[in-house]
């Protein structure tokens, strides 16, 4: 035999145990030993760290567990912005869960206009598709009238936005911050701790200013999303953030066909960068950082703060620097296991 397993745990036994292939008596013996032996605990820890990226990672409660102090700091801002937003914005805000629900079952889009899509066209498409889905879903059920009304309300708002866009609102934002604003505007249940448009809308108590800023950003972000295609170095692999930052699509055909990428613990995405053909980093609101190494499955990595992130630059699948909405940058060299300021 390769190693004395009564003394210490060897690799073969550890592998079998971890896949549940040991018989009960052997399992009990091994666990007893593991729980008392520092060497074997070290072995187990090393082994655990080599596990390939999981399909599911870091659900919400995990982050709260470690960062229970952070939300306290943001709570005040939440209240301030809530007050600042006029009533119809609040209605829109409450309708965001509907949005989420109706968007979810959307199938991957297979045919899309050739890149880069013209801004107004693609935004319309993206916005209309979920909406019509929502309608057809709502129709058979009488009890869903309320949702239906909210949908209508949002529809109006979006028409306004599109109109504003067609008249040509000056673009004064980076795609990332635009996306962020859109994201916040779409579900303002937990707005960012720091106002990202410090100059234009510094979370002022003036309701008028806030609403103006919001309608501006809505139009702007419509453009920003159309433009925010993330290209890998080989340019046939691309990603794009759609549905107001809630959904991510991937193309391996230079943008002629798109499929939905899977995200562990979805959040609202703002920007991304691809340093290699199948590696892509995505950042988003509330400290969301995702990375994929196969192009399609994005895994959420730990981020120390629940702060909105606006950009990311990456050199490979381990090294990346992200920028937060308040201008700080964080760097990781081990795919998000540790971050330094």
């Amino acid at each position: 035999m390769s190693a004395p397993d009564e003394m210490h745990v060897d690799g073969e036994t550890l592998a079998a145990w971890s896949e549940g292939q040991l018989r009960p008596d052997a399992t009990a013996r091994l666990e007893q030993h593991l729980s008392d032996c520092a060497r074997c605990q070290h072995l187990l820890a090393t082994f655990a760290r080599t596990a390939p990226a999981p399909m599911v990672a870091q659900p919400l409660w995990r982050r709260w567990h470690l960062q229970w102090l952070v939300p306290v700091a943001t709570a005040a801002t939440v209240a301030a912005i809530w007050v600042a937003i006029p009533r119809d914005e609040q209605a829109r805000a409450t309708s965001s869960p509907v949005d989420q629900v109706t968007v979810a079952p959307q199938p991957p889009r297979s045919s899309e206009p050739a890149p880069p899509p013209s801004p107004s066209r693609s935004t319309r498409q993206e916005k209309q598709e979920p909406r019509s889905l929502a309608k057809s879903a709502a129709l058979p059920s009488a009890g869903k009238r309320e949702e239906f009304e909210r949908e209508d309300k949002r529809e109006n708002k979006q028409d306004q936005a599109n109109a504003a866009q067609e008249t040509g609102v000056p673009v004064a934002q980076t795609p990332a911050t635009g996306a962020l604003a859109e994201a916040r505007e779409r579900d303002s249940d937990r707005p960012p701790a720091v106002p990202e448009r410090a100059a234009a809308a510094p979370a002022s108590p003036s309701a008028a200013a806030a609403s103006r800023a919001l309608s501006d950003t809505q139009a702007l972000t419509a453009r920003a999303f159309a433009a925010s295609e993330i290209r890998s170095p080989n340019s046939t692999n691309r990603w794009r953030i759609v549905n107001g930052g809630r959904q991510l699509e991937r193309s391996t055909s230079g943008g002629s066909q798109w499929e939905t990428a899977s995200l562990s613990s979805p959040g609202v995405m703002t920007a991304g960068m691809s340093p290699a053909s199948s590696v892509c980093w995505i950042v988003g609101r509330a400290g969301a950082v995702y990375v994929t190494t196969d192009g399609l499955r994005f895994v959420r990595v730990m981020f120390p703060e629940s702060i909105d992130l606006v950009s990311v630059t990456a050199t490979d699948d381990r090294h990346a620097t992200v920028m937060s909405a308040d201008g700080r940058s964080f760097r990781t060299e081990d795919r998000g296991v540790t971050w330094t300021r």
Partner: protein
């Protein structure tokens, strides 16, 4: 190599087929040797026929055939391993240690190929794969073991670090009142007792989380549990420790409720002196663990539980 008496022709043929061993032109005789080695590994005494078949059927037979075909020198099998497993092995090596990981992977790879000869015979390390896990998991585990062995042998060569018990450390730190020092000592022994009373698996989760600094997801994957389950167990375990400590203080130390509260308070005030990681782990990796993080968690866990 005569087939074992328990491995009759029919059973062998069935398993050989199931393992698709023909792909690598692995002969039934060679495959029988693989199965035999696996059974010897898993059982001290030969089990009855039913149990045996159950065991054999639960094996990762395709991987077993692949590994042993490599050991037999099949180029096709070797190509497949190169394609399917080598990249993952090197990714795992990077995850273990950016600098020395590759070296370990290289040497493991050489052994798998059978470069190191023993007694003139090329012997591939793939013969130690028994199909009780997938080949990918086995490779990761063997790699981890190599790493640990290497770290420990280096450590033995280095001068021994002063690995004095952490109990000796708090004394010089602050010259506070003696009552408090006593509380800390009492608290420490109570926590040690409470941890020792846990079920092995609970203690293991606790160790993984607090001493080895694994994430819930990593623990979950290693233990074959969902990370939510791991979290739930950890919460329960923390509560059990808290209860155990309270019980210990009240029963054995005959402390009043106020004293017990004072005891907990003393730990909260002076977090440097009672580190769960230290308590859980007598071993040398303690230094890699940030004391603050684990004490914070320990105390918040105790307070919350």
């Amino acid at each position: 190599m005569a087939p074992s008496p328990w491995l009759d022709r029919d059973l062998l043929a069935r398993l050989h087929k199931k393992a698709r061993a023909d792909r690598w032109a692995l002969s039934p005789t060679a495959f029988a040797a693989a199965l035999e080695a696996s059974v010897l590994r898993a059982f001290d005494d030969l089990p009855d026929r039913r149990q045996l078949e159950k065991y054999l059927d639960a094996l990762h037979l395709e991987d077993l055939a692949l590994a042993w075909a490599c050991a037999e020198g099949s180029d096709l099998a070797w190509e497949s391993v190169m394609r399917e497993h080598r990249p993952a092995l090197y990714r795992a090596a990077d995850a273990i240690d950016q600098s020395s990981g590759r070296e370990i992977a290289d040497s493991l790879w050489a052994e798998l190929f059978g470069l190191t000869e023993r007694g003139g015979e090329r012997r591939s390390h793939f013969r130690y794969f028994h199909g009780r896990s997938s080949l990918a998991t086995w490779l990761r585990a063997v790699l981890a073991q190599r790493h640990i062995d290497r770290v420990r042998s280096h450590r033995r060569l280095d001068a021994l670090p002063d690995d004095e018990s952490a109990a000796a450390l708090p004394a010089p730190a602050i010259a506070v009142n003696p009552a408090r020092m006593r509380y800390l000592a009492v608290m420490r022994s109570a926590v040690v007792a409470a941890v020792a009373a846990l079920a092995p698996r609970d203690r293991l989760r606790l160790t993984c989380y607090y001493a080895q600094d694994l994430t819930l997801a990593q623990i979950g994957r290693a233990l074959g549990e969902h990370e939510a389950t791991v979290s739930r167990h950890l919460t329960r375990t923390r509560r059990a420790i808290r209860a155990g400590v309270e019980h210990e203080l009240a029963e054995r130390e005959r402390m009043s409720e106020a004293d017990v509260a004072e005891c907990f308070a003393s730990v909260l005030d002076d977090s440097g002196s009672l580190d769960l990681a230290d308590l859980l782990e007598s071993g040398p990796s303690r230094k890699e663990v940030g004391p603050h993080r684990s004490t914070d968690k320990e105390t918040s866990g105790a307070a919350g539980g």
